[in-house]
Amino acid sequence: MIVRAVSMLLAAAGALAAQPATVEGRVTNTVDGKPVREATVMLRGTVRSGTPPNVDSYVTETGSTGRFQVYLPPGKYQVMPSHSGFTAGLPEPLAGPTLLTLEPGQHAVLALQLVPDGVISGRVVDQDGDPLRNAGVEVLHYSYLYGRRQLSGVRSAVTNDRGEYRAYGLPPGSYYLRASAPPAGGIVMNNERPRRTQPARSFAATFYPDAREAAQTAPLELKPGAELTNVDIRLLREMVYSVRVKLPEPLDGSSRYPNITLLRRPPDSDPFGGYSQTMRNGAFEFDGVPPGSFVLTAALAGAVGKGPVQFARQFVEVTDHDVEVPALDFVSTIEVAGTVKVEGALSSPLQNMRVILLPREPGPDGGNAFVDADGAFVIHYALPEPCQLHVAPVPRGAYLKAVKLGDRVLPDLEVDLTGGARAITILLATDGGRIEGQVRNAEGQPAASVTITLVPDGAHRGRPDRLKTATTGDEGEYLFQEIAPGGYRLFAWQNAEAGAPLDAEFRKPFEKLSVAVTVEPSSRHTVPLNTITVKPASR
């Protein structure tokens, strides 16, 4: 959605407070300029009102000429037109949603525009050009996820019996296409071994037009409302192998089997991530596995969700032959006790607080526990391996000061229980600092809806929990509270791609444009900021 031009006419001055405002306008297609009929126009209130506090939204639809009119109480609204077949959300490089402030009796006229979606269509064929049915086609683009720029899915489609696919509803942009043969999937429970007359080959996930990696191809540029046809992908063939793992005797004498998965590393390099599994003569076998790096995990849950979980992980390299995984080395989850200590007085209780352990490698979660009112917690099924510790939510008014495992302070919150259970001490403090200020753009005007990043610097730079983001209000104002003492850098991003400011590599070239602040216990800072404009080349 784009709101290209918002013009307002003030109809009546000095209107009565109870008098409603009127918003009328027209919705047009950015490409052909034609009116968009049956478009939904939502004016979403930005002020919470009523009991319980709630947001009021006013919704109407355009008629056959693309026109709409809506009466609503005065106030602040976000204008959000939408229609299927047109892009919802905000394509870059446009700034945040258009805000409209309506005075009593005001009559606003809006010219709204919608960007038509595009289509990519074609066929997926095999080495002979024969159509492949039920092949998956992913439309991917680069975006930031978890602070890292990576390929992520925008749409997906499946081929029909003629090998055809049609991916529609695509916002304009640069896309990569990846096709994969239908997943074999499923677990076969029998003791049969297939004896092949020729070596097993399979279709490899293939980027348009004919590459294994996105980096070897050029993206498809899709213009608004355009349709790219005959985008045909011929799937590459590759040798595939089997990965066999001998099952342990059921650990508690029951007939339960562990839940075994084989995942490619890194995980996003595989469109499906699952291989056909067969259980034969007490062994688990994954068939059709292409060469590459994998991680095999096996977990055996305790009896009806109780008792320790047995867990094993094994890294597997598949090169040019079948792989026999050596006997899995199962470890048992352990019980870890801990305490949350608070320096200072807390306004809200600890009870809703949770301590979570997240392992670095794929597998089950590392265990978690709720904290009692007195600060004690017990993680019943903690994974004895390096895990990142998270505390959520941190009670209002406090910040996470330090975490200790036994007597050792953990500078990056990594809890390693490999050597056995040791008490975890979580220290909260209430003497956090506060930073506020106003952000101005290059023209010196207050910059609304700008993303601010507060990045820990110096000694605590490894603390992921201390990196915070905020968005400026209508007057360009921002606020961070309960900041742990230490050095920080502040960035105000005019037009950074969503998620990008969390990436240290992305921030690096802009460091000289950031503002350094040192927060002392209970200190208050007012820091005016200027927006950083990201040049398209560096995006």
């Binding site: 009021d56 959000m80 009806v304």
Partner: protein, 574 residues
């Protein structure tokens, strides 16, 4: 989904065969017995030189060769199978086959279903023999091409409706009940077009179903026109299947132009409160979902969900008129609560609905044996499945050495009780008591505090079944089934099966005392149909009725029910 049912049947047979050869515990369903398939003795002596098997796969309609078909040469002893692919002439070759007289050839290819050569049942097949250095040639396998239906869905203005789910449905019997079963589906594209392929021949109904849509923002929505949505619609313009028109799909046919319009209707809201059934206090911190529900599955649809507010209030929007099952399932601090309520939406919003949420409880029980106890109770699992469709919670528990078990997270609702497998060799579940109530028919209304008592017995009877074809010849390698009648008709764990030997004789053993009907079916896959009492009635004269007494030994004669007869009966029933 004949292909699937065949495969399922096959793997079941393979499992049974494996069980027979290896002597391990069968993975078949409760009450399954080993088939009487007479495999030749396992070859012995020094390793023999391999033989070869070759042949052609063709399209059963056009007789054209089928390329890139996967051909499977399966050793019926269940140890291994060979896999080959056909070339452009449909030709396949297995160039190194271990000599044995127990092979079976099958073929598979996307867009086709496998047809058993000449016969219908895999059990009527003679195993394929490959001798030392023998070249088996001329194996002819047929694949039956599947059908396609395509068309487009438009709204009342003739504009395409994108992102609708279009379903292809056929009538089917499942666990004895006639119902519409989904055979395929597609999602309409931006042109409103759909294409559903791999359809088995037959009458196919096409239904378009919309996902719940509309701008769903949090907070209060003020709309200047009523909310509208697309109701589930059958081709050409029907709300339910009785007034729908079926497309006739023949093998390999492409039925095009199944275009239809879906007209928007007003949609409504269901508002109300969730309360704790005991304390009447509001329940929050969970979600509520509404699922279209009615008897028969032609009212299939998407779930609509909403959150529960701190005062327990909920507001479900965008509901097409019709009956809905509302369910709430909350998990707080490891404790599960569940609530369920049926609400019908007609031509206005429904307000003031109260959904009572009950905490779950642990249902304790004990397994005991009448007469000598089995060696161990430890392999027994007790399973509860919700008796009502559309929402509900399952529970299951393993039995301890002393016969006790505890079913966790049970909620006050009706369940069907089953054991996961035959309790122990020679034993069957004779009676079920909940508190002092006899619920041996298998349906229990779970209440907190009551104790389940399951009694096993080992006084089962057996019946010798002689099967003859219409011409009076013995019917060899035919599955026979004994189906409980009367009080225990719903006890699926009391079904017992057997297979006839080359002389047309089968033994069904392990029969709990009671009334049964015994039937012999040419095709194992027709089991689903024969479980329907209506269906069974049509074949009463071909089967035999029988009362099994404790430790009884009976003999009955039955006539073979052919696949043609089943097909004819299917078209007779409404």
């Amino acid at each position: 989904m004949k292909l699937i049912s065949l495969l399922v049947t096959y793997s079941l047979a393979a499992a049974l065969l494996t069980a027979q050869v290896v002597g391990g515990g069968g993975r078949g369903g409760p009450g399954m017995r080993l088939p009487g398939m007479d495999l030749p003795p396992v070859p012995t002596g020094p390793p023999k030189k391999p033989g070869t098997v070759e042949g052609v796969v063709s399209n059963s309609v056009t007789h054209a060769p089928v390329k890139k078909a996967t051909v499977n040469l399966r050793n019926l002893r269940g140890q291994y199978s060979y896999v080959a692919t056909t070339d452009a002439a449909g030709h396949f070759l297995f160039d190194s086959v271990e000599p044995d007289a127990a092979y079976m050839l099958t073929a598979a290819c996307p867009g086709f279903s496998f047809q058993m050569p000449s016969g219908r049942s895999m059990f009527s097949l003679q195993p394929l023999a490959v001798a030392e250095e023998q070249h088996v040639t001329g194996a002819a396998l047929q694949l039956s091409p599947l059908g396609v239906i395509s068309g487009k869905v438009l709204d009342e203005d003739g504009d395409p409706i994108p992102s609708l789910i279009v379903r292809a449905l056929q009538f089917d019997y499942q666990q004895g009940a006639k119902r519409l079963a989904q055979r395929g589906s597609d999602t309409t594209d931006d042109h409103g077009e759909y294409r559903i392929f791999d359809l088995q021949p037959g009458h196919v109904y096409i239904q378009a179903v919309a996902r719940p849509a509309g701008p769903q923002a949090s907070g209060r929505m003020h709309r200047d026109r009523p909310d509208e949505g697309f109701p589930a619609t059958f081709y050409p313009a029907a709300a339910d299947v009785t007034s729908a028109t079926a497309a006739d799909v023949t093998p390999g046919a492409e039925v095009t132009g199944i275009d239809f319009r879906v007209h928007k209707v007003r949609v409504y809201r269901i508002r109300g409160t969730a309360v704790d059934a005991q304390t009447q206090q509001p329940v929050h911190g969970a979600g509520i979902s509404a699922l279209p529900c009615a008897s028969g599955s032609d009212r299939w649809g998407y779930q609509t969900s909403a959150g529960l507010q701190p005062d327990g209030a909920f507001d479900l929007r965008g509901l097409i008129p019709g009956p809905y099952c509302l369910t709430i399932q909350s998990n707080q601090g490891g404790k599960t609560s569940f609530g369920r309520q049926t609400v019908s939406v007609a031509d206005q919003d429904v307000d003031g609905v109260v959904v009572a949420v009950s905490p779950s409880f642990a249902l304790k029980g004990v397994v005991a044996a009448e007469g000598p106890p089995p060696e161990s109770f430890k392999n027994i699992r007790v399973m509860l499945s919700p008796a009502e469709p559309y929402g509900g919670m399952y529970a299951n528990a393993g039995v301890q050495e002393d016969g006790s078990f505890v079913l966790e997270n049970v909620v006050p609702q009706a369940y069907d009780l089953q054991l996961s497998s035959p309790p122990a060799e020679g034993y069957y579940l004779k009676s079920i008591r909940l508190g002092d109530q006899d619920v041996s028919a298998g349906r229990i209304d779970a209440i907190a505090g009551a104790t389940l008592t399951l009694t096993l017995a080992s006084d089962s009877g057996q019946v010798a079944v002689s099967v003859r074809s219409a011409s009076g010849d013995p019917a060899a390698r035919i599955p026979v089934i004994a189906i409980p009648e009367g009080d225990f008709a719903a006890r699926r764990d009391m079904f017992r099966t057997g297979f006839t030997d080359p002389n047309g004789n089968a033994t069904i053993s392990g029969l709990p005392p009671g009334d049964y009907q015994v039937l012999a079916l040419e095709n194992f896959g027709d089991m689903n149909f024969i479980q329907s009492p209506d269906f069974r009635k049509l074949f009463a004269h071909q089967g035999a009725s029988l009362t099994v007494h404790a430790n009884g030994r009976d003999t009955v004669s039955v006539k073979l029910i052919t696949t043609e007869e089943i097909e004819q009966a299917k078209s007779k029933l409404p």
